[in-house]
Amino acid sequence: MNTDKGKIIATGGIIGLFGALLVKFGNPVNMGVCVACFFRDIAGGLGLHRASVVQYLRPEISGFILGAFGMAKVKGEFKPRGGSSPLLRFILGFFLMIGALVFLGCPLRMILRLANGDLNAITGIIGYTAGIWVGIQFLKRGFTLGKSTTNSTAAGYTMPIFAVAILLLLVAAPTFIFFSESGPGSMAAPVTLALGAGLLIGALLQRTRLCTAGGFRDAMLIKDYHYMIGLIGIFVFALLGNVIFNFETFKIGFEGQPIAHNDHLWNFLGMSLAGITAVLLGGCPLRQTILAGEGDGDATITIIGLMAGAAFAHNFGLAASPAGVTTNGKVAVIIGIIVALAIGLSVIASVAKEKAARLKKREGGVEVGI
C-alpha cells in the first residue's frame, strides 16, 4: 500500500515540478502544464478560432497522448473501445471547456495557480468541489453514460495519429497554421523539452491513472484518498518548483495574478461547471487525454468537444481574460450548468425506465414459462 502511495505522490510531484520548469523555460506563467489552455491553443493554431494571442500547437499535448499510447502498448493496455454516449460526451466536453475558460484554466492549472500564490484558485477549488458534489448526486441516483464496447483498431489509433500530425505541423509550420506573435500563445518552452515532459507525464499518468476529478470524487463519494494524495503531490512540488525556479513571479494574493481575474462568483461558477461535467464524463481533461492515447474513442470524442468548446469560446467572446469575465461568458456558463443538469436528470430517468422495463420483462418471462 505504501509503495502505491509513493508512486502516486511521485507522479504528482513530477507533474508539479515540470509545471514549474516549463514556465522557467518559456511557457506562460502558471501554465507549465494546462490541458484546457493547450487544447485551446491548438484549436487556435489550427485556425478554428482567431484569437491571435492564443494560437500555438502545444507539443506537451502530443507528448501526453503519445506517452500514454506508448506505455499502454508496452503494457498490453492499448484497447480500442468506444460507443458510450458519444454525443453526450461531446456536449459535456464542450461545456467543460467553457467553464474552464471562464475560470482561465483546467483543474490542473487551478492547482498550479494556487502553487504560485494565486488565491483566486481557492475560489475555483471551492467551485470545482461544489460541481463534483452535484455530479456525485447524479452518480448516486444511477447516472451512467453506458458501457463502451470494443472498437476497430483504426478507431483506437485516431488520437495517437492526431498527436503525430500536430507535431509534424508544428515542425513544418505551413502558412495555414497560426502562431501567436504576442500574448500567452507566443510563450513556449523549447519543443524538445515540452515534448519530453509531455511524454514522461503521459506515460506516468497512464500507469497511475491520476485524475483531478477522480481525486475529489473518490474522496467525497467513497472516502478513498489515493488520487487526492497525488493532487497534493502536484501542489507541493509545484510550490517548491516555483519558489526555486520562478521566485520572481511568485506572489500571494488575489490581485494582479498572471492570466487570471478576480471575479469570485464567476471563478466559482466556471469551475462548478467544469466539476459537474468532469464527474459526468468520468474524468478531467487531463485524464481524457491519457485515455484517448490508450485507444478510448469516447475520450477522443470528449477532446473533440473540448476543442470545439474552445473555438466557440473565442469566436463568441465567451472566454474570460485578465480584464474580467464577459457577459457572453456568463450567459454561456449558466447555459452550460443548465445543460449539464438536464443531461444528468434525463439519463437518470432513462436508466430508471430501462430498469423497470427489465424487471417487468423478467416477471413476464416467468409467466410465459408456465
Binding site: 509503495t3 451512467t144 478513498d224 474524468g283
Partner: protein
Amino acid sequence: MNNYYCVMTFHSTYHALNFEKILKEFNYEVRLMPVPRQVSSSCGTAAEFQCEKKADILKICLDNHIEMDDIHRIENQKKNNWFVKLLNDKG
C-alpha cells in the same frame, strides 16, 4: 493477512453503491475503491470483499437484483520494478 483479495466491478457507480449498502445490511465487509489497474484502466468504482464469501455474496446479489459486471481475484504481487526499487532505496 491474505495476499490476495477479490473485487467486483460494476457498469455504474450507482450499482457499486447499491452493492455496498445491501451487503453491509447483511454484515459483510465491503470496501469501495477505484478499479484496480490489473482489472481495467477505466475510471470507476469497484468493491473489495473476501474471496471466501464469493458464493454467499453472489447469491445475495441475485436475490436483491444487484447488477454486477465481473469478479476478479487480485494477487498482491511482490513488487520489484525499478521505480519501487528507487523509492525504497531512497526511503
